[in-house]
Amino acid sequence: MKIVVTVKVVPDLTAPKSIDPATKRLVRTGMESQLNPYDEYALEAALQLKERLGGDTTVTLLSMIPETSKETLRKALAMGADEAVVLSDNALVGADVSVTARSLAAALKKIGYDLVICGGLSDDGSTGGVPGAIAEHLGVPALTNARHLEIESNAVKAQRETDTGYQVVSCPLPALVSVTMAVGEPRYASLKGIMGAKKKTLAVLSAADAGIDAKPKTELLRFAPPPARVKARVVEAADGPSGARAIFDFLRERKLV
């Protein structure tokens, strides 16, 4: 079985960020990039399936990133993915949800798949729009927010997280699933994994190779810093009642109680 995990490279949340006023894009130079944390859970879910299924199960990474960022994927290869395909093209710079989903779907058709596993969100754009849109373009089921996955006789069976618990849902392969962090903590790369990753294939695909012709449906007009919060009022509470009173009075002042 061929499992493909979509991965994004995102800016490190803790690194300082700035946006270029001319291009209205994030300034990527000098800023540490990392795998989108949500996608590490997708990879973990894929590696767990590979271990359980054994045989000829493979895990391929698919990423739409600038070619200069492709080495970031070595970490995912070191965790245990077998190979990586990078979709990289100047035509795809500034892609929105629509273009990203179309492009990844086109690449998936090109490289083939039985099961696609996605993280639920990206750490930077945070739309959550890409997984379902990929599935729709591929015409396969989109089983989202899975916290546990099993493969049984050419079907996926999943526990799917809801606001109040979970649902048991199954669907035939090929399919796309997105996962939550309840699938399990992403593993660390072993030394052997890190050494082995250097020899794994990291192929680059252009938009033309994948047959992509997509135009964005959104346009960034402007951006601004968030409104500043005034400095906090600090109260040292000698005991429970005085601390409670300080909070209660503050909430009443703000008409929150």
Binding site: P11, L13, K17, I19, P37, Y41, V97, S98, A101, R102, S126, T127, G128, G129, V130, G132, A133, E136, P141, A142, L143, T144, N145, E161, T162, D163, T164, G165, Y166, Q167, V169, C171, T180, M181, P216, K217, T218, E219, L220, R222, P225, P226, R229, A232, R233, V234, V235, E236, A237, G240, P241, G243, R245, A246, I247, F248, F250, L251, R252, L256
Partner: protein, 325 residues
């Protein structure tokens, strides 16, 4: 883009405040665009909920109380919404920014070849185009994005960001004909409740959240839950608490968890690492209760109470309950 279609999230006809926020917003936006305001209500309980929605200023509430909507995951919903969207014409499709809303939006982006804007907190009309205001990069920047070259714009809107106002002349309720479709394959085989009756964290107007400082799972139930109940809110947690197994991951707020923007956020024993901050920084008012006055959470709170949460919170809960009478 001229019309506005709200897709209503509900369970068996029970819905949340965000539904009425979006109904109100649908009207306002439709008026600015010179179009009509619609809602789509599907599945078990839809007919009753549609009656309740009539008191909001919508033009048409489209209803299909079709059992397939609940028997199968999402696919029937997408077919019904597509059918309403195509019949209505170029439109903005409004959903709550929740797991459900993102799921539906994601599929519609491809189905309708639409643009998408997520976690939207305000709308603007610029040269006749719809533009959406939304925080990005964990709230580091507030972006304004316009839809272009598309007939449909799919929007997930942040709960608690828009007012809900009833009124209007009473919407017309119309039944949606069952769309032609391939056989549905994602059957919901079982539904398990682990925290029944909980208010959705992403939509709660008040969130009382606990972290490492609580020391174990019990205080979430004995300390935070009663305070959240008194305030009409929900309980959340930091990643440290979820990783320790004290609460399920579905309660985790921050990076790799949920993003919330309640009117009031009370952080109890949470240090306030950046990974937590990105999930709650845009809350209206932030109150921190912490033993350590120098914890990072103090830098983005409105009130910091330095003290022992275990003695403060029961007293606070009593004060709030007494106020309610």
């Amino acid at each position: 883009m001229q019309h506005v279609i709200e897709v209503v999230e509900h369970r068996g006809g029970q819905t949340r405040k965000v539904t009425f926020e979006l109904a109100t917003q649908a009207r306002q936006l439709a008026d600015k665009l010179g179009g009509t305001a619609h809602a789509v209500v599907l599945g078990n309980g839809a007919a009753q909920l549609a009656e309740n929605l009539k008191t909001y200023p919508l033009d048409i509430v489209h209803v299909a109380e079709d059992p397939d909507v609940d028997l199968f995951l999402i696919d029937p919903t997408i077919d019904y919404v597509e059918s309403v969207a195509r019949a209505t014409g170029p439109s903005v499709i409004l959903l709550p920014n929740t797991m459900y809303g993102r799921d539906v939006a994601s599929r519609l982006v491809a189905r309708l070849d639409a643009g998408m804007a997520a976690d939207v907190t305000a709308f603007e009309i610029e040269s006749g185009r719809v533009a959406c205001v939304a925080p990005k990069l964990g709230g580091v920047t507030i972006t304004t994005c316009a839809f272009k070259d598309t007939e449909y714009g799919v929007v997930t809107a942040r709960p608690n960001a828009f007012p809900a106002q009833s009124g209007g002349k009473g919407a017309r309720v119309e039944q949606i004909a069952k769309p032609q479709s391939k056989p549905y394959v994602m059957r919901v085989e079982n539904e398990v409740e682990e925290a029944s009756g909980e208010l959705g964290l992403e939509e709660a107007p008040v969130v009382v959240s606990g972290g490492r400082g609580l020391g174990g799972p019990e205080p979430f139930a004995t300390l935070l839950k009663p305070l959240a109940d008194a305030l009409g809110g929900a309980v959340g947690a930091s990643r440290a608490a979820a990783d320790a197994g004290w609460v399920p991951y579905s309660l985790q707020i921050g990076q790799t968890g949920k993003t919330v923007s309640p009117n009031l956020y009370i952080a109890v024993g949470i240090s306030g690492a950046i990974q937590h901050k990105v999930g709650m920084r845009s809350a209206g008012t932030i109150v921190a209760i912490n033993k350590d006055a120098s914890a990072p959470i103090a830098e983005f709170s409105d009130l910091v109470v330095v003290g022992d949460a275990f003695s403060i919170i029961p007293e606070l809960t009593k004060l709030i309950e007494a106020e309610k009478g």
